[in-house]
Symmetry: D2
Subunit: 398 residues, 4 copies
């Protein structure tokens, strides 16, 4: 199986490639991959990890090996020895040029001098270019496209009412409201590949693209990987519900040291993310407690992220009590194994003939497309049931 990553030089993509190749060479264990553990490892049709290879696009030029080197000097997830061993493999992975058109000021700030030309690329040129890159990359093999690029500004609401025909007309007309994530997704679907949207950017969250995916029989998974504070929220909030304890307020603050934090310090980009983070409480609890979700850029953390949440809840006789937690994680480390799981499972869905948003994959996302379930344990149990479903069931997800 081939994985094509949008944002291939970013920390998540790099950590995914380095860790997978290191595991393939038996240099490191393959940790955090649930499709390698019981009972999900028995899912029929899982592509073997040993045969995964990577490619992708980015707005910055260079090889994955160079990206790995630059990440490692700051983040040090991998030892120098591991890095040296995987470098020859990384150097051969193809990285093409991403779409800069309408990516927002924050992303534009990350790119180099080729900016001007890219700004002038039309929507249809961008789609064609990416589709071609994907065809060259995949050849006859199964491939999955995964978006791990920086978060875009919130999408214009008008796009949600478009049909696929209107979408295609907008592409032809180079409509300025079309965000890059939707163009990538469209190109992937045209090339016939499942699309996984690991970011809060809209991508295949547009009804037009879901419609198109169903027409073409291609499965989708999204949106916004659930790797930190929100993961904990969807495990903890159901506890209050299961005890009929009323959560009066839930306040959370997130500090991030990496590019992601820097991009999110632009309030237009943070809007997508905060919206994604806030919805989960209401759906886990059945009501919306007071409180906010803050995301702040804190450079000394480098690639780590720290979240502190304070929860005020009420019980017997109206008495108030409190809970707080601090989560200290590393974004790329938490995300990388989910990319492997998602690529494998969306491929299984493709084999089974499922198409459109696969709700059973909601456990991986903050905004699970195709499902209303936010409770982590129930999401997991649904995934297990989906994986164990016999081929006869194929095509009829719950």
């Amino acid at each position: 199986m081939k994985i094509w990553m949008i944002g291939a030089r970013g920390t998540i993509a790099t950590a995914t490639a380095v860790g997978t190749v290191a595991a393939q060479k038996n240099l490191l264990p393959l940790e955090g991959v649930i499709t390698e553990r019981a009972p999900l490892d028995e899912t029929e049709g899982l592509p073997p990890v040993s045969e995964i290879s990577f490619g992708g696009c980015d707005l910055r030029p260079g090889t994955l090996a160079e990206a790995a080197l630059s990440c490692t000097s700051t983040v040090s997830i991998f030892s120098r020895a591991v890095l040296d061993s995987v470098t020859p493999v990384l150097e051969e992975m193809p990285i093409t040029q991403g779409i800069l058109r309408r990516a927002g000021a924050a992303v534009e700030a990350l790119t180099g001098p080729e900016r001007l030309e890219l700004f002038q690329e039309s929507a249809s040129d961008a789609v064609q270019r990416i589709q071609q890159d994907l065809e060259e990359f995949a050849g006859d093999e199964a491939a999955v496209v995964i978006n791990v690029a920086s978060t875009e500004p919130l999408c214009d609401p008008a796009l949600f009412s478009w049909s696929i025909e209107e979408f295609e007309q907008a592409v032809e007309a180079d409509d300025p409201r079309l965000p890059p994530s939707a163009l990538y997704a469209y190109a992937a679907l045209r090339a016939g590949h499942p699309f996984v949207n690991f970011t809060p950017s809209i991508g295949t969250g547009l009804p037009a693209l879901v419609e198109y995916a169903k027409q073409r029989g291609i499965p989708l998974a999204g949106r916004d990987g659930k790797t930190g504070e929100t993961l904990v929220k969807t495990a903890l909030a159901p506890m209050f519900a299961a005890r009929a304890l009323t959560v009066e307020g839930w306040y959370g603050t997130n500090i991030l040291g990496n590019t992601d934090g820097q991009v999110l310090s632009y309030s237009e980009n943070a809007a997508s993310k905060v919206a994604s983070k806030q919805g989960v409480l209401e759906q886990c609890l059945g009501y919306s407690p007071a409180g906010q979700v803050r995301i702040d850029y804190f450079p000394p953390l480098v690639d780590h992220k720290v979240a502190w949440d304070f929860i005020l809840f009420r019980g017997w006789g109206g008495h108030k009590m409190r809970m707080q937690f601090t989560w200290e994680g590393t974004d790329a480390v938490l995300a990388a194994p989910l990319l492997i799981d998602l690529a494998r499972l969306v491929t299984v869905a493709h084999q089974r003939g499922e198409s459109g948003a696969i709700g059973a994959l909601g456990v991986f996302f903050k905004t699970p497309e195709g499902s209303n379930e936010m409770n982590l344990q129930r999401q997991f149990d649904q995934l297990v049931a989906w994986c164990q479903r016999v081929p006869a069931d194929a095509g009829h997800p719950s």
Copy 2:
């Protein structure tokens, strides 16, 4: 429905009685009771909260109204106005004398000068006395016996191999290894009442008593109410399992300011509790991480308890990350609504003809008797399914 509480002058029992009566008089909302919320409020046969009344026994003399006054001066869960309104009702609730025999040094230290006589009471005299008290209390009505007394020392392992006949012979022979909790449970079963063990003391955890309960067609629920740190553990630990993140260590410390903390500062009594707290991780995760559970007495907290847990876990590439939480709860406030839920649900089980340990009630306990499930969400989902089961299913718990 009548509820008879062992340890009726303790903080949990007092808070339960005051809060229930206050709710019956519309002085306070009835919070934290899951059988009052959807979907459990539709369970067939639930006794109405408006008809609950209380009684019980304690080693210290006095009325519930006096207990309420003394608790409130230190804990202040309820306002003085609420207390004044419920006093007349509390004063009429009957409290008889508990069993002191073999309760351990910590509990003995709490009792008054009547100690000597109580020490000499034989096991069979104690059982008969309690059975008689229960018969007087319940009359023809449905009643439930709930143990909320201080924790006993660990039970002698020999008792676990006894049959009910051997147990009864031991009672007759006044065997010194018989703990009070087992005598209370036996008396309750002889009087024909369901028994709920909210403490880590052994009670109906003895196979002989389960056997006896089945013979007599009486349901049981236990053991050790899950109200704080362990509640959080069983919500959080499954999150690590659902992400294939390996928990290398989980360290927890609990500081308690009330009698419970004082009793647990006797290491023989703490042993029951710590054993109860430690097992859950292994069952939620599938392996046992490094770490300890500490319980320390910290008087300035009065009835509050604070738990701090530190979790070290490993992900992609063997990278280590951390999480910590602080839980600041009030023991009696967290326990009281569970007592109401348990009394109602065990009464439903009795009506349905279920007997022995009701595994579907495991969500309420640290050591769920009759079930191997420790995962909070799965326990809750099992309870919901049990509550929704139609009468035709009665008598066939999973």
Copy 3:
């Protein structure tokens, strides 16, 4: 000694009055007052606590007794019994009308229908009115004016270059840039009373008013009471300096549930406070670490405030380490005793003939006027030295 509080119906003023009267009646201990403890209790000339009485102004009408009742129903710092006992005394304390002119949108939202008339009051009318109120209040006795009103928006920078003559011309001309806090301060000085600015509003932080205070021989103390997160910062940051550990980042978030939090949710008002909070680290450490100070409104906390700070520091070999703390305090409880200390000490300064900003009182403030010292312990040691200075030194503050 008489204390006249601006914002007399606010929670801080109310808690100060209730607690002081309760202590005068021996209903409660007088806790948290350092001038009652060794060695500060031996300061020559301290006005006795038993003779303190209160008055003040507010934008909302009503007596202190009514304010106490309304605070207590939400915050419950004092028991109902204490409140009932002090009510007759509180009812006699005079509260006059505050200055609404140019207080900012947040404060305006708190006032009642009398708003329109107050808007039209000229600066010089406001000053004369307050001066008259003060003269009536104080009579021949020593009095201190303390600002505990809600935070104003940041002051126009132009005012910092004004001389007292220019200030007085602006008052006559009803200059719209004159903030209420400066008018109160000017009125207090004209009436001959020391002025304590417990808020981040500018007040006597204007050079013109310091000049005027010196001309008139009146001492001043300010600015912005150090009661929570910043108090901890000025105790902790010096620890890193004393170990040559480099603080790379210090991130802090504050959640507040009271009017203060609500007012600070207006970004123009928060600007004063955040500026006040941020400066301390640089002065304690000698450099400015990365990071931000957040203040968010979180209504379920009512009058409590919670701060969480995360500190990333570097040591031997460039190795990084972390510290975090959570402070859970009650604003009014922390502030009230400082008001008593400040009123007593500024009166001592007046007796000694000191005038202008008294730097030795810097320990009480986030932005200590008249001093560059931010280190809490050094500030405290300077205060002790100042208190112990013999009368011969009077008039020559360091």
Copy 4:
């Protein structure tokens, strides 16, 4: 200057040597050394860091280079590249055999098969052997002996009443109550070298040895390096005193992953450490709050240590508030720069002719010998004053 470390293969000693040599070779900055920063860097007579070299003894054989390699594989304070560069220097540093006699079961468990012979060594043989090792090591140069070995069990109280003559008789008589730390200290003094006791073991805490040090004109510094939880305590506790806030309880728990934690899991060894940690609050506050200090072994932390402290305090009107902090440090990283500071400063004291316990060095220790000051900031200010004292003052420490 030469530094001879007892426990030279331990993590603290190793980190000190590696980091110092790396700084001498300009591979790493010299962080955390306060004698390198203003104003302490101007202390007259400081030996230059560039000329420091190391030696020492340990119960386990091998070179410092081997110790560095084994530490680094688990702790990873230093990169492999740094380690490779300093290895040749480390390999030449002499490490001799330590004293096993009466070191307690925990330390004995760390040693190898040579145990039997060492057990039989008499006290006087041990002293002579160490003295000889020291003479060979130091030659004509100034040297400092620093104890960084594992913590011993608490010392027999009888030894505190001994004179130096009685001590010397006990050495001759091979008195079994003589702990290794006292023998090391005695040997150091006989060889004429200042002794720094960075551990809670008694060492020069015995009056007999202080007397001997004064006779011989040799300065001492001790006891028990203040590097973590206690460092924070002595910065924070004075804050409560400076605000007259009564600390009702202070609970602290420490989890450690290294040999230190393992040794302290033996309760006899932990007793020394806990005693050392508990005293500071009483001296900072003037009274002793409720609460305990826990130390637990938590292997997954490897060389890191985490402390969580929970503080319950009372203010105005008796109202209770809370604070908590989590400190996540690395023991060796925090200790190493203090060793460099102490070695330099005790050498300055020696030059100045000071002898016995140097109280001005109390800022470095949990149990500051020669001083009653526990308040971190006051200790630091005293050190600065001591460093700035002109040579004329020499020999008259306050």
